[in-house]
């Protein structure tokens, strides 16, 4: 259409202004991508860490377990249920776990904490933060690939407090499903350090089959199935799929429900980040509004002529809006070119800030990674360009209105 061509030509009559405006738009794209992307990566990292500490992105447990956890509330047929759950859409892995409480002692001292029964074959570094953070020893697997039934993995602080080394004996005590107190000896095969004091002080990992036997849970039982999916945003959909796959009689919950402290942090931080982005957006929009308005006022005479020869005000309005559409599109292309190498750098290398902080930061029970990386959720690829584009058009509304309302006679009188 003529209007489209006319608006495109108008754009290049004032090259510097067009460039400055589209650079503002590109700047907005850059800013939003950087801030939202860095935050997204941090959330995914923290939720991932939190998930690999026990409950997964989605967890399956016996009814009532989440409100009142106890090993007597267990899933008896956990293994077959795990098989069913792994077939659900979006599921990467399903790991059965026994989560209980125990007392840990050596001849000298006693301490208490979390007892975690894991399957060393399935609880790999990727699925289990403790295995990933092993500082000494191995993950309960012998050289022949067999599970080391009499072994255990403990945290570094516990090792120090109880004066344990690799090969030392640890006595663990817990109540079994019948409420009887049971005790067993395990040898320390691995020592991990997550950096969170409470966790490093009070967590012991045992082979799940051993825990099943000693706690009389049954050969295929588990207290929870930890389900993993590729990113924290998709968990609600995965929960529904898993729920369908495993059938009724169990509770299926997302990480937001099982790890509420993490969910709160993500929610508050995301909200404040978005408010900040909106503010920046408004300031950028003010700049665009100014330039567009300038462009209209400068051309008052010319626009007056158009009106005088019969152009309808509505078309004039559309003309200015079309100009802003071009500026917006140009800005998006520029922004894309600008942000691509930067985003790739952040994604692959990141910025290490750990030198600036002397203390680690812990949020929701996991250590905050001091290297900034970038990751975009699927929604961002659409939301960021769309929001910036709308901002540009929104900023053009007033100038466009101004153009449409020009009085031809007065405009023609304007002196150049």
């Amino acid at each position: 259409m003529d209007l489209v061509r006319l608006s495109w030509r108008n754009l290049w009559r004032s090259k510097r202004r067009t460039l400055i405006t589209s650079l503002s738009v590109a700047g907005a794209v850059w800013m939003a991508t950087t801030f939202l992307g860095i935050a997204e990566w941090a959330y995914n990292d923290m939720v991932g860490k939190s998930a690999t500490m026990g409950f997964g992105h989605v967890s399956v447990a016996a009814p009532g377990y989440n409100d009142d956890p106890s090993i007597s509330k267990r899933i008896a047929n956990a293994e077959s249920m795990a098989k069913a759950a792994s077939a659900a859409r979006g599921v990467q892995a399903v790991v059965p776990r026994v989560v209980g409480q125990g007392l840990f002692a050596t001849a000298r001292k006693t301490t208490g904490g979390l007892l975690l029964g894991i399957d060393p074959k399935r609880d790999t570094a990727e699925r289990n933060l403790f295995v990933k953070k092993l500082e000494q020893g191995t993950a309960l697997l012998g050289k022949d690939g067999k599970v080391d039934d009499g072994g255990c993995i403990i945290g570094a602080r516990m090792a120090k407090t109880l004066q344990l080394e690799l090969g030392s004996k640890l006595v663990w005590t817990a109540t079994d499903v019948e409420g009887e107190i049971v005790s067993e000896v395990a040898r320390v095969r691995g020592i991990f350090q997550t950096g969170v004091a409470e966790v490093d002080m009070g967590t012991v990992l045992l082979p799940i089959d051993k825990a099943r036997r000693v706690l009389k849970l049954g050969p295929e039982a588990a207290t929870i199935l930890a389900v993993f999916n590729h990113e924290h945003r998709a968990s609600a959909a995965v929960r529904d799929a898993v729920s369908k796959a495993v059938g009724p009689g169990v509770e299926v919950k997302t990480w937001q429900q099982t790890q509420p402290a993490m969910a709160s942090y993500v929610q508050v931080d995301r909200a404040s980040n978005e408010i900040f982005q909106l503010l920046i957006g408004l300031v950028v929009a003010a700049g665009i509004l100014n330039t567009m308005l300038m462009g209209v006022l400068e051309r008052r005479r010319e626009l007056g002529v158009l009106l005088a020869i019969g152009m309808r005000p509505r078309r004039l309005f559309a003309l200015v809006i079309l100009e802003s559409v071009w500026v917006g599109l140009l800005g998006l292309v520029l922004g894309g070119l600008l942000v691509l190498p930067w985003a790739y750098f952040l994604y692959s290398t990141g910025i290490d800030l750990s030198g600036m902080m002397t203390e680690q930061l812990e949020v929701g029970g996991v250590v905050f990674d001091m290297t900034l990386h970038l990751r975009l959720a699927d929604a961002h690829y659409f939301v960021i360009p769309f929001a910036v584009f709308c901002l540009t058009i929104g900023a053009a509304l007033y100038p466009a209105l101004k153009a449409a309302r020009l009085e031809p006679i007065e405009s023609l009188r304007v002196l150049d």
Partner: protein, 408 residues
């Protein structure tokens, strides 16, 4: 002369009211939001500080050497009674605490817990722990076996107020220790440590259970002046009384908190920088445009004998005038917002407690205004705006009258 130039600048600003308004508005919006953000952030960190100090840490703590690295029932300060006496004489509040691990069981369920034996009467002078009981009651003399438990302990063991709790541990003399305790109360969220494993009991009951007859593991001290008070004199008093034991102030006991306070300025500064980068672009753009539009005018002024310095002054003064309008608006809006929400924005309906470095903080945002928080963004704004005007002002000041008047 400069008075007249100022008048000229003011008139120039009002010649394009819409543009001036939009530019000023953008500046004001950015500065106002920065004031509000800053107030919320400082309010939150302060809140975190008071709740961490008021609930557990107090101002200064004394431990036997080595206890903090390796908490052991036997690593006691045997002379804790004397130390506390000396501390109270020197005019600070002090209380002693004992810690020991035990297996707690209730109704077929068990959990490892950390028993904390406190001096219930004196603890009240040092911390506000007694106000953190969510259900039931605080410890009382009349109920020597009564305990108050952390909320996750209660959940894990299925405990309600009035339930009985069996604890099993190893006493200091090596014998097996067990006891039947009654749940008097359940704490609301206090700290990750207390929530997950804390069982708070009267000191006497702790001593009898674990056979620790004298001494204690921790002495917590607080200045009587309140939690915001400086701690130097408390540290002095503690050092004088502690003898060979280790004395640590709260920044050492809660290093992450101290770090947050230390870096909060840098964090705010970074946000300010980003927001103002956008503002500077807007101002730069607007000023440059208005200068180019008026080149002819500047040429005329120069031919009439106005010096380049005076023209420079006019252009900068125009930006300054807009910045001043923006500053007034921003101050009003930012301070107004902060005061309007002074009671706190309570997000607890949709968001749970937030756990930062083991400190459990309810999601209530209470803006806290300070002079620095209100004035910092304003002063930065004025400076940045003036810097943004330098290049356009130079352009105007250095124009050749002949070219400008000819319209080149």
């Amino acid at each position: 002369m400069y008075g007249r130039l100022l008048k000229l600048a003011a008139r120039n600003v009002s010649r394009k009211p819409m543009r001036s308004l939009v530019t000023s508005g953008a500046m004001a919006l950015a500065a106002a939001v920065m004031i509000f953000f800053g107030a919320i952030m400082i309010g939150y960190i302060e809140h975190m500080k008071t709740s961490a100090l008021a609930m557990e840490t107090a101002h200064v703590q004394i431990h036997a050497k080595g206890y903090r690295d390796e908490p052991d029932l036997h690593t006691l300060m045997r002379d804790s009674g004397k130390i506390i006496e000396k501390l109270r004489e020197s005019g600070v509040s002090a209380t002693e605490r004992l810690y020991g691990f035990a297996l707690a069981a209730h109704d077929k369920q068990s959990a490892g817990v950390m028993l904390r034996g406190i001096d219930a009467e004196h603890e009240k002078n040092v911390t506000l722990l007694h106000t953190a009981v969510g259900q039931g009651k605080w410890l009382d003399e009349s109920d020597p076996r009564g305990v108050v438990v952390g909320k996750k302990v209660a959940r894990r063991l299925g405990l309600k107020v009035g339930d009985e709790l069996i604890v099993v541990s190893q006493a200091a003399d090596g014998a097996t220790a067990d006891d039947l305790l009654t749940v008097r109360g359940i704490f609301r969220g206090v700290s990750a440590r207390l929530d997950a494993a804390g069982v708070v009991m009267r000191q006497q009951a702790f001593r009898e259970l674990l056979a620790v007859h004298e001494g204690s593991h921790e002495i917590a001290i607080r200045s009587t002046a309140g939690f915001d008070a400086p701690i130097t004199n408390v540290v002095e008093a503690a050092k004088a009384a502690a003898g060979k034991h280790e004395v640590l102030g709260w920044p050492k006991l809660q290093p992450a908190l101290a770090e947050m306070l230390r870096t909060s300025d840098a964090q705010l500064g970074f946000m300010l920088f980003i927001a103002y980068l956008a503002v500077v672009t807007v101002v730069f753009n607007a000023t440059l445009m208005s200068v180019f539009e008026r080149m002819r005018e500047f040429g005329v002024l120069k031919s009439l004998g106005v010096t380049p310095l005076q023209i420079f002054f006019v252009v900068v003064a125009e930006s300054l005038a807009m910045a001043v309008i923006a500053a007034v608006l921003a101050l009003g809006l930012g301070v107004g917002l902060s005061m309007a929400f002074a009671d706190g924005i309570d997000l607890s309906a949709s968001v749970g407690d937030i756990n930062f470095n083991g400190m459990v903080i309810p999601p209530v945002l209470s803006p806290k205004l300070g002079v620095g928080i209100a004035v910092g963004p304003i002063v930065t704004l004025v400076i940045m705006v003036m810097l943004a005007a330098v290049y356009p002002a130079l352009k105007a000041a250095l124009v050749r009258p002949v070219d400008a008047v000819r319209g080149r």
